[in-house]
C-alpha cells in the first residue's frame, strides 16, 4: 500500500457544540482522524476528519457510491481503514482485533440497509437473539423485553411472523427493534429509508427522532434522502470524492457557499455528472 498520503487541511472538525445539542461531556463520543480507505485503485475515503458528539444525531449525506457506507462501517469496526484512527469513547478501535471489538459493538448497534434479519428465525427470535447471546435473562424476561422493543417500533403483533411475511418498512422496523434490544449507546443507520415509499420513510424518520428523544442515544445516519436528513439531523456532513465538503448544523448548511452541497440539498442535477441520485434523493 503506498503511504504517500498528503496531510490536507480538510473541512474543520466539529464546531463548538451549540447548547441545544445536549452534549453530556466535553469530548466527542467518536473522533475520526485521517481516515483513508481504498478499494483497488479507487480511493474512497481520502483522509477524513470529524467528530460525533454525545447525544446528537449526526447525518452523513452523499451521493450513491460516495463512501458513506464505508465510513459507517468503520465506526463499529466492521471494516478496517487503510490509515487513520477511529477513537470511540477515548479508545482507538481500528487497532483492535475482531474479538476485542465485541465489547465495543455491544454498545454500538447498527441497522442495515435491508434490515438483515435472520430469515431462518421468527421476528421474536431475531429480537431475542442478542439478548440470548449476551445476557443471563430468563426466557420470560427475554419475551417481555422483546415485546417492549417491538412495541417501541410499533410492531407489537409481528413477533410470531417470519421476516419474509413482512413488508420492507416493517422489516426495517423489526430490525431496529433487534438493534435496540441491548439498549445501545449508539445506533448506526445505513440508508434507513432506501427503497421505502415517502410515507413509510417519514414514519421511519419519526421513529429515529423518537428513539433519540426517549433513549437519549447518539445516532449516526447515512442517507441520500434529504427529507430524512432534515427530519432527524442535528448536524450534517456532506461527503464527496473522499472528503467532507461540509460539516455543521442546518443553519450553516443553508448559508454554505459550496455549490455542490447547494445542488445536492436542492435536488438539482450536478453539472456534467450523471444525476441518478437526484431521482432517488427526493421523495
Amino acid at each position: 500500500m503506498p503511504q504517500d498520503r498528503q496531510p490536507q487541511p480538510l473541512s474543520p472538525p466539529s464546531p463548538p457544540s451549540p447548547p441545544e445539542l445536549r452534549t453530556a461531556a466535553n469530548e466527542p463520543l467518536f473522533a475520526i482522524r485521517g481516515l483513508t480507505k481504498s478499494f483497488g485503485e479507487r480511493k474512497v475515503l481520502d483522509g477524513i476528519d470529524f467528530d460525533i458528539l454525545r447525544g446528537e444525531t449526526f447525518v452523513i449525506l452523499g451521493r450513491s457510491g460516495s463512501g458513506k457506507s464505508v465510513t459507517l462501517r468503520q465506526l463499529n469496526g466492521l471494516d478496517k481503514p487503510d490509515a487513520g484512527k477511529v477513537i470511540f469513547d477515548g479508545r482507538d478501535i481500528t487497532a483492535l482485533a475482531e474479538r476485542d471489538l465485541y465489547p465495543v459493538r455491544r454498545r454500538i448497534a447498527m441497522l442495515f440497509q435491508g434490515g438483515a434479519l435472520f430469515d431462518s428465525m421468527t421476528i421474536s427470535d431475531n429480537v431475542a437473539f442478542p439478548l440470548r447471546e449476551h445476557t443471563q435473562l430468563s426466557e420470560a424476561e427475554i419475551a417481555a423485553k422483546v415485546q417492549e422493543k417491538l412495541g417501541l417500533v410499533r410492531l407489537p403483533e409481528a413477533g410470531p411472523k417470519m421476516p419474509s411475511d413482512l413488508s420492507g418498512g416493517m422489516r426495517k422496523r423489526a430490525a431496529l427493534a433487534r438493534s435496540l434490544a441491548l439498549d445501545p449507546e449508539v445506533v448506526l443507520y445505513d440508508e434507513p429509508t432506501t427503497g421505502l415509499d415517502p410515507m413509510t420513510s417519514a414514519a421511519i424518520g419519526h421513529l429515529i427522532r423518537q428513539i433519540h428523544g426517549h433513549l437519549n442515544v447518539t445516532q449516526v445516519v447515512i442517507t441520500h434522502d434529504i427529507a430524512l436528513a432534515r427530519q432527524v439531523g442535528d448536524r450534517i456532513a456532506y461527503l464527496s470524492e473522499g472528503h467532507f465538503r461540509f460539516v455543521g448544523d442546518w443553519a450553516a448548511a443553508e448559508r454554505s457557499s459550496d455549490r455542490e452541497l447547494g445542488d445536492f440539498l436542492a435536488g438539482r442535477e450536478l453539472a456534467e455528472e450523471d444525476g441518478d441520485h437526484a431521482a432517488s434523493a427526493q421523495p
Partner: protein
C-alpha cells in the same frame, strides 16, 4: 495472478480452520446447534450415501467375477469388494456425494446470509459467525461423514454379498469368511482416517466460499458451483496423498 489468488485463498482457509477449531472448543458449547446440524447434514444424507455405496458393492462383485474369469477368483470376491470399498471407494464416494450435497448447501446458506448482510449483522451484534455457523457444521460433519462412510461400506459389502450369492453362486459363508480373513485393521483405519480429512475439507471449503460470496443471488450461484467443483478436485487430489501416507504409516 491466479497463483497468488490460490495462495491467498489457501491461507485464508487455513486461518478459518484455526478459528473454527478454536470456536468448537470454546464455551458455551452450542449443543443444540450441533445436533441440528448432525441431523441436517448427516442423517438426511444417509439415503443418498447408502444407495451409492450399495450399488458400488454390487458392481464390484460383478466386475471382479466377469473381468477375472479364472477358476478361483469368485472365492475372493468378498475380500476384493471389502478392501476396495473400505480403503478407497467408501470414503471417496461418500465424500463426493455427501460432500457435494452438504458443501453446496453450506455455501448457499452462508453465502445468502453474507450478501444480505446477515453475517455483518451478526458481527455487529458482537456474535462470531464462525462460532455460530462454521463450528457446529465442522463438528457435525467430522462426526457424521466417517459414520456415513462406515455405514456405506457395510451396505456395499452386503450389496456385494447379494450379487455373489444370487448371481454368482458363491456361498455366503465363503464370501464373509474371505472378508474376515483378508480385511485388516489397517484397511479400516486408512478408510476412516481419510473420511475425517474429507469431512474437514468439505466443511472448510463450503463455509469459506459462503463467507466470501459477493454480488447477490448471482454471486451465491457462482459460489455454490465453485464449491462443488473445488470440493471434487480437492477430495480426489488429497485422496492420492492420503493413500500414500497411510501406506507409508503401515509399512
Amino acid at each position: 495472478m491466479r497463483v497468488r489468488n490460490l495462495a491467498q485463498r489457501t491461507g485464508e482457509m487455513a486461518v478459518l480452520s484455526g478459528r473454527a477449531f478454536a470456536a468448537m472448543a470454546a464455551r458455551p458449547l452450542e449443543v443444540t446447534l450441533w445436533f441440528a446440524q448432525m441431523d441436517q447434514l448427516g442423517v438426511r444424507s444417509l439415503a443418498v450415501a447408502g444407495v451409492a455405496t450399495t450399488f458400488t458393492g454390487m458392481v464390484l462383485a460383478l466386475q471382479t467375477a466377469y473381468s477375472l474369469p479364472s477358476i478361483g477368483v469368485k472365492y475372493y470376491i468378498g475380500s476384493v469388494v471389502a478392501k476396495s470399498l473400505v480403503r478407497e471407494l467408501g470414503p471417496v464416494l461418500t465424500a463426493l456425494i455427501v460432500g457435494g450435497r452438504i458443501g453446496a448447501g453450506m455455501t448457499a446458506e452462508i453465502g445468502t446470509m453474507t450478501v444480505t448482510e446477515q453475517i455483518d449483522a451478526m458481527r455487529s451484534m458482537a456474535v462470531d459467525p464462525v462460532k455460530k455457523l462454521v463450528a457446529p457444521k465442522l463438528g457435525a460433519v467430522l462426526v457424521m461423514l466417517p459414520a456415513l462412510t462406515v455405514i456405506g461400506c457395510g451396505l456395499g459389502i452386503l450389496g456385494g454379498l447379494l450379487v455373489a450369492v444370487i448371481q454368482l453362486n458363491v456361498q455366503a459363508s465363503v464370501y464373509l469368511n474371505n472378508i474376515v480373513q483378508y480385511l485388516t485393521l489397517a484397511d479400516v483405519v486408512s478408510g476412516v482416517g481419510k473420511s475425517f480429512v474429507f469431512a474437514f475439507i468439505i466443511t472448510i471449503i463450503g463455509c469459506y466460499n459462503g463467507l466470501h460470496t459477493t454480488g447477490g443471488a448471482d454471486g451465491v450461484g457462482r459460489a455454490t458451483t465453485d464449491t462443488v467443483v473445488t470440493l471434487a478436485i480437492t477430495v480426489m487430489i488429497s485422496d492420492y496423498f492420503l493413500t500414500r501416507l497411510f501406506i507409508l504409516l503401515v509399512s
